[in-house]
């Protein structure tokens, strides 16, 4: 049975986790995601689960590693500086093929930066982030509803691929309130014949990322690579008004949300502008953009940083189309007018 409530973005993440059957959460306070642990500290124990406020971000991701190794659904959440600290554990999760959900409500950096929204962790999120040759699936919501939905999806994808999945939002998506339809799905179950549950009536199980024997690590890395290739089919994106577009904006998350208004303004003024919104930042909708570039010659990446996703857009269409860029360093939120003005200038230039 579904029910509609007004919820803050971070609360929607926490509710999504509960709906997905997550019963273990380990975290550490950091703005702008504190409502996630605050909500779960109350509601997880009520649901028979475990909440621990760990001594550090490092400890919390390692607690996740331990609980997830037993087959449980486990989540941690943080924001940029905290996510940097969690990278050690994320690398081990990938190397040991242990699923887990990590939420990054991205804030501005580098360093302590600020607590305002940013998309400056795009590279970190989409290139693995920690040491070693690995990838994580990255889901980028652009509404409070998607915070809820994608958190549920993140658990399914993590279990399906035995891999960490990142839910990549920002301070806007964490703090704003919107109506959310609570779907309370029956959580999907996955056969976890690798989980550590005690070697009763079966041989010992080992979860590890160390491979010392000659050739073992090469094989392990190729197997991971093949898995990352299989993950490509999880690519998700939204398109808006691309059929007749002369210029296609590529934007994700809160920027995509704002740019939808800017595109409506452009359309009103007779400019044929469309939008591709990557929902999965990894895998990136490369193939779709390539296909689109066969008939559309101009793309424009818009980001709340000085240019990271634009590289993926260029990699996708560089041989066939031109890629413009407007980046907005973090600190304050871009307005629809500001983004419209940049679109208008680019449209004029290419017309």
């Amino acid at each position: 049975m579904s029910k509609k409530i007004l919820a803050q973005g971070n609360e929607a993440i926490a509710r999504g986790a509960l709906a997905a059957g997550c019963r273990y959460y380990f975290g550490y306070p950091i703005t702008p995601q504190n409502e996630v642990p605050e909500y779960l500290s109350k509601h997880l124990p009520e649901a028979g689960g475990v909440f621990i406020q760990a001594e550090s971000e490092v400890a919390s991701i390692n607690m996740l590693l331990g609980a997830a190794a037993t087959g449980a659904r486990v989540m941690t959440s943080s924001s940029s500086p905290g996510i940097s600290l969690k990278q050690e554990g994320i690398s081990y999760l990938a190397g040991s093929e242990i699923p887990g959900v990590i939420v990054n409500m991205c804030r501005s950096g580098p360093g302590l930066g600020g607590i305002g929204p940013s998309q400056g962790d795009y590279y970190q999120a989409t290139r693995g982030g920690g040491h070693g040759d690995y990838r994580t699936i990255v889901l980028a919501p652009h509404s409070v509803q998607e915070n809820y939905d994608f958190t549920i999806l993140a658990f399914d994808l993590a279990d399906k691929y035995r891999n960490p999945v990142i839910v990549f939002g920002d301070a806007i998506l964490g703090q704003m309130k919107e109506p959310v339809e609570l779907k309370n799905p029956r959580p999907k179950t996955f056969k976890k014949d690798w989980a550590l549950t005690g070697a009763k009536g079966r041989p010992q199980r080992i979860l590890k990322s160390l491979y010392l024997a000659d050739g073992e690590l090469v094989d392990h890395n190729w197997n991971l690579y093949k898995k990352f290739q299989r993950m490509q089919k999880e690519v998700r994106y939204e398109t808006l008004l691309v059929d007749d577009a002369k210029l296609v904006v590529v934007a994700f998350g809160s920027v995509a949300r704002i740019v939808k208004t800017s595109i409506a303004m452009a359309r009103k003024n007779g400019m044929k502008v469309g939008l591709v919104r990557p929902i999965t930042l990894y895998p990136f909708p490369t193939a779709y953009l390539q296909e689109l570039a066969q008939r559309i010659g101009h793309f424009m990446a818009m980001e709340m940083c000085t240019g990271q996703m634009v590289d993926d857009v260029k990699l996708a269409v560089m041989k066939t189309a031109e890629v413009g860029f407007y980046g907005r360093p973090p600190g304050s939120i871009p307005t629809p007018n500001e983004l419209y003005e940049e679109i208008r200038k680019e449209y004029k230039r290419i017309s």
Partner: protein
């Protein structure tokens, strides 16, 4: 004829990679003995750490999770909270637990996690080739303290058993040695008490075992055992530092 001695069931019948004279093999055996005695093999989840004992799963026939360096107590917290009826232990060296993992072990103890921690202190980073550890003795020469450890530059050998005993959540903390048969028998009993702390859900059970590293100490096995007895034991006093069991006061 009655068999009086056998390999513990939870220890595999394989040669180890440990150097001659290393105490890891002995300590493995003592831990496996305790697992067998309590009938825990099928409900044990071991957490291996980074160091010479990282290949723990090659020797212990129990489910095992490999932890990042120093994080074993946090990893084990996650395992135990998810599997409260299982037996969870970490096995960590001094480079792991007393250096990069101090935050994790302190807070796991302070939370009173129902865990058993086997802490092997050989005063050196063994696996990486004999660098200085927080437990390295004053004056001890290592590859990163070539002139001997100087306290003004590198501080003092850290006494983990005492530190852990001071935390409210700790149910049992003791330091033992395995350099001779007499001490080995004490170590065996002590390890069982660190198991009891978890099994009786009283809190964290911690055993520090003084251990030799003949390779990195550049000594023979006999010289290394002698060093444990004559140099380490006087600085790292053996004994029980905390015991919350009913019989604890009798110690």
């Amino acid at each position: 004829m009655k068999q009086v001695f056998a390999r513990p069931k939870s220890l595999k019948d394989v040669p180890t990679h440990y150097c001659p004279g290393c105490h890891h093999g002995i300590i493995h055996r003592l831990v496996a003995d305790a697992i067998d005695q309590y009938g825990l093999q099928e409900k044990t989840i071991a957490v291996a750490s980074v160091g010479c004992s990282v290949l723990l799963y090659d020797y212990f026939d129990v489910d095992t999770l490999e932890s990042p360096h120093g994080r074993a107590a946090a990893v084990a917290t996650g395992v135990k909270r998810s599997m409260p009826d299982h037996f969870v232990f970490t096995y960590q060296g001094d480079g792991d637990l007393a250096a990069i993992g101090t935050a994790e072990i302190m807070h796991a103890a302070n939370r009173g996690e129902f865990l058993t921690v086997i802490f092997v202190n050989n005063t050196v980073f063994g696996m990486t080739g004999g660098q200085m550890a927080p437990t390295t003795m004053i004056g001890q020469t290592t590859t990163t303290s070539p002139g001997g450890r100087e306290p003004l530059k590198a501080g003092y050998p850290i006494k983990m058993a005492e530190i852990i005993a001071n935390l409210e959540g700790t149910a049992y903390s003791a330091r033992v040695s395995v350099h001779d048969a007499k001490h080995l028998m004490t170590a065996k009993k002590t390890i069982r008490k660190a198991f009891d702390a978890q099994l009786e859900r009283r809190g964290l059970g911690f055993v520090e075992l003084l251990s030799s590293c003949p390779t990195n100490w550049k000594m023979t096995s006999q010289e290394a055992n002698k060093r444990v007895k004559e140099e380490l034991v006087p600085y790292f006093p053996l004994g029980v530092y905390k015991d919350t069991s009913a019989k604890g006061d009798e110690q």
